[in-house]
Amino acid sequence: MAGLEDLYREIILDHYRNPRNRGELEVPPAKVAEGFNPLCGDEIQVYLMVTDGMISDIRIGGQGCSISQSSASMMSTAVVGQTPGEAREVLRSFKEMMSIHEHGLDGEASPSDQRPDPSGLGDLEALRGVVKFPVRIKCATLGWNTLDQVLGQVDG
């Protein structure tokens, strides 16, 4: 049985209370994409500035729950300074961590829950507990899906 502490790790609450890289960037030169969680109405904007083939700045706008906000905040610190290709790699690893496999009716943890960290996701690992709460996965991935969209607008 998953408890609150699996979901609300300290680092998550910290990013929620003190979100990193909040705000906007001027578009253009930056790019922006907007994501919705159609289930709960959360929305998020991801602003991305790529300079010399590197993510030189990223900003997060919008509203959401602690999970979507902290996940986006962590995401912003994880990808800033990376190339778009590297960011896509992190994105892929994160989404893989979030992918649910067969959950039993009794909410057992999925196999991915026990796997060691193959990807060096670092702090983002704290979000692993979200897979025990399938409904919240959409919260955790909202920012990332929006990053995916905005990355689609940049080359390389």
Binding site: M1, L4, C40, C65, S66, R136, C139
Partner: protein, 412 residues
């Protein structure tokens, strides 16, 4: 004559309410999303499958006759339950959503064209918005909105102007977010006065109050089985027979035809015309059991019980949580149902409902399929606690305790 509802006895009828969540007894406060089911309904489903399961309207053998009779008995019971003049005015659908789509496709695409106006309230559920927006996108029908005031009531101050040129008014009898109970009879009268029809989305009304479509004097009513102690997979459209008789079919397939040749088909009479393919037979029969269950308790008793409990909730919440808590919508029990949309401090509804879940308290977090209304409230989401016949004061107390606990958790 007030009937009294024995809530302990009622609660004992619902198997799910005996379960525990995270080691605590469940406190189910999400009946606006879907209600729990009494064992009487589950018994009816099992009896159907174990004794008379057969496809209907087509078999001459015994169990097929029994199944057919059981489905038609359900139709008759539903007609009585909502005060429909004719049994054939009851059309089964898979949910309220399909029922509204049926009207939008069949009546709407026959009667509405570019420039025609549909008037909705700004507190409608997406089920009563999107089908009309589809019609708008497809053929230039205009969608207009009755605004919602700060008090959570519909604002009729500009109604005359809004009604100008309107062909259909489509409103909810009870809001699934605010609990508001708009004056349906009066709205129908206003609609008819300008020659418009009126569709009432009674999904949040029929489970909680006595319903009389004849007294409402409206033209279409929809509601959904799973919110009224019935199974999933069945909804109901009631329509005035002269309207239904003039409407073309919506879904095409078996049972809705009078004849099919290589050249085309002739539709069947109403209501078969609108019931294509194998119906949700078990579900229709289960819904009949739900209606019997509700009738045995009495819809007046249910309404009175919920009113008392809502009053208790409004009072307890405000006493114990004070200004930390906002309750959206009307603040007196006289003009609201037991659906309470809450904002507690600045805790996001999703997080709130997650902490409440640790207490076994089930409330819904989200936009409740009413995004336009959310923009009026100025929020993305609310946490919604909704009461039904099986809830008691202890449930309300558990909600308040859990809210206090959530406040502490996120204040850390």
């Amino acid at each position: 004559m007030t009937t009294i509802l024995d809530v302990a006895a009622v609660k004992a009828d619902f198997p799910l309410l005996k379960r525990e969540v995270h080691g605590r007894p469940i406190v189910y406060l999400d009946s606006a999303a879907t209600s729990q089911k009494p064992h009487q309904v589950l018994d009816a489903l099992n009896r159907y499958y174990e004794e008379i399961n057969a496809n209907i309207h087509r078999g001459a053998y015994h169990i097929a006759e029994q199944a057919t009779t059981a489905v038609e008995d359900s139709r008759a019971a539903l007609a009585r339950f909502v005060g429909a003049p004719e049994t054939t005015e009851i059309v089964f659908a898979k949910n309220a959503t399909e029922a509204i789509n049926l009207v939008a496709h069949s009546w709407g695409r026959t009667n509405l064209d570019s420039g025609d106006i549909v008037l909705l309230s700004a507190m409608e559920h997406h089920a009563n918005i999107v089908p009309w927006q589809q019609l708008a996108a497809e053929r230039g029908v205009e969608v207009r909105w009755i605004p919602v005031g700060d008090d959570g009531h519909l604002d009729f101050s500009d109604l005359d102007r809004l009604l100008d040129g309107v062909r259909l008014v489509a409103v909810s009898a009870a809001s699934n977010v605010l609990g508001t109970l708009p004056p349906i009879r009066w709205i129908v009268e206003a609609a008819h006065a300008v020659g418009a029809l009126c569709l009432v989305d009674a999904s949040q009304w029929v489970p909680h109050q006595p319903t009389d479509v004849t007294a409402w004097n409206c033209d279409f009513v929809v509601f959904t089985g799973h919110k009224m102690c019935g199974p999933t997979g069945v909804g109901v459209l009631w329509g005035r027979s002269d309207l239904l008789n003039a409407m073309p079919p919506f879904l095409g397939g078996g049972s809705m035809i009078r004849n099919v040749t290589f050249d085309g088909f002739k539709p069947a009479e109403v209501p078969a015309r609108f019931e294509a393919g194998t119906q949700p037979i078990a579900e229709i029969i289960g819904l009949h059991a739900a209606v019997k269950y509700l009738e045995a308790i009495g819809m007046e008793a249910i309404r009175d019980h919920e009113r008392d409990l809502t009053a208790y909730a409004l009072q307890t919440l405000s006493e114990r949580l004070g200004d930390d808590l906002t309750i959206h919508g009307p603040n007196t029990v006289e003009d609201r149902g037991g659906t309470l949309s809450l904002a507690y401090r600045d805790i996001h509804p999703h997080d709130l409902s997650q902490v409440l879940d640790q207490h076994g308290v089930c409330v819904r977090a989200g936009h409740h399929c009413a995004k336009p209304l959310m923009t009026i409230l100025g929020v993305n989401a609310t946490a919604r606690a909704s009461l039904y016949l099986y809830n008691d004061k202890a449930d309300v107390d558990a909600l308040v305790d859990a809210l206090v606990d959530a406040g502490e958790f996120f204040a850390l």
